[in-house]
């Protein structure tokens, strides 16, 4: 040890030095008034802190039952799973709202649907008129006759049928 290092004196008191180092520090203290003075203070501090530790009061936090009660709580407490569950509920609620809105709108349209179908590009009337054009091609009398016998239009494209 180099002379007068308080950490060495402290380590000596704490029993942290090897026997050789302890003997050396001890011998130094015997001949060094400054280190003897420092040692006295170090002993004083250790003594005070030990007495203070023995006087640690009984506190509610030092009762294991209080900790046990707290440890039993987390199962109901975690935030992440709970937040996830609520997010799912929110999504389900939004989906249900969208479904109700869709059904509601569909019903509204069905009630006025008898007339509204006329406006559709491929409503019943438009489809029948297209079928009529295709099936009335005069150059295709044989086909027309066959179609008449079958009761169905055999030519799918009005363009072809118009030639």
């Amino acid at each position: 040890m180099s002379a007068c290092r308080e950490t060495d004196l402290d380590a000596l008191l704490a029993g942290e030095l090897s026997p050789e180092d302890a003997a050396r520090v001890d011998a130094h203290v015997d001949t060094c008034p400054a280190c003897r003075h420092a040692m006295t203070w170090l002993r004083l501090e250790r003594g005070w802190m030990a007495q203070r530790a023995r006087r640690t009061p009984a506190r509610p936090a030092l009762d294991f039952a209080a900790l046990e009660a707290r440890l039993s709580r987390p199962a109901a407490r975690p935030w992440v799973p709970l937040r996830g569950a609520w997010t799912n509920w929110g999504r389900m609620l939004m989906a249900a709202t969208a479904a109700v809105a869709f059904v509601g709108l569909s019903l509204t349209q069905t009630q006025g649907g008898v007339t509204s179908l006329v406006d559709e590009p491929f409503g019943r009337d438009a489809r029948s008129s297209l079928m009529g054009e295709a099936c009335e091609d005069p150059s295709r009398e044989a086909v027309a006759a066959l179609e008449a016998s079958l009761g169905a239009c055999l030519v799918a494209s009005p363009l072809i049928s118009s030639r």
């Binding site: 203070w41 640690t56 009061p57 046990e68 987390p74």
Partner: protein, 196 residues
């Protein structure tokens, strides 16, 4: 032939308790709590300077420790590990309360050593008045310096472990503890040895 071994040391018993606690034995965890909670509470009380806040912080420390027992690698460092968690809890608590009470004490550090009285054996007795003065003097230290000093003089941690808990170099730990000691002695000098 089976030799009867020496009775298990306190450290051996603690290692056994720790392994049992990690395996989910609540009685073992309870014993560890009862062993270490007073020191953890005292450390937190000295940092927070508020007994009720220390209660809450002690519970929080052990709740965290309970959940992380598996993360403790060195079974012989349980005490230091718990005090490290306690310090984190304290720092979080201080941040959440917006408390920042660091005393500017640099001016004191250098001029103390030469004028300190030499204590007498009678000074060893810590009466209530002196205990109050000691707590007050500790409270005047800068927070991190106070924590380092307490880890050494109250909780007996080796300098290397204090460096680990505080996240400091070994040299910084030694310097800070030395300064803290000088400041503490200066505060208490008037009450020691019948000197000035």
């Amino acid at each position: 032939m089976v030799l009867a071994g020496a009775p298990p040391s306190d450290m051996d018993r603690e290692r056994t308790l720790l392994r049992r606690a990690r395996a989910g034995d609540p009685a073992a965890f309870r014993t560890l709590f009862e062993r270490h909670a007073p020191a953890v509470w005292r450390f937190l009380r000295d940092l927070l300077r508020d007994e009720a806040a220390a209660d809450e912080a002690t519970q929080e420390t052990f709740v965290r420790a309970h959940g992380r027992l598996g993360a403790l690698r060195d079974e012989d460092r349980l005490g230091a590990w718990l005090l490290g968690i306690a310090r984190h809890v304290y720092l979080e608590s201080r941040r959440s309360r917006g408390v920042h009470v660091d005393v500017d004490d640099e001016a004191h550090a250098s001029r103390v050593e030469a004028v300190l009285p030499t204590p007498t054996p009678e000074d060893l007795l810590l009466d209530r008045e002196l205990e109050g003065l000691l707590s007050e003097a500790l409270g005047m230290l800068r927070e991190d310096r106070r924590a380092a000093l307490l880890l050494r003089i109250d909780h007996g941690l080796p300098y290397e472990e204090i460096a680990s808990v505080m996240g400091w170099s070994l040299q910084k730990v030694k310097n800070e503890i030395h300064r803290a000691r000088l400041q503490l002695r200066e505060q208490l000098a008037a009450h020691v040895g019948g000197r000035p």
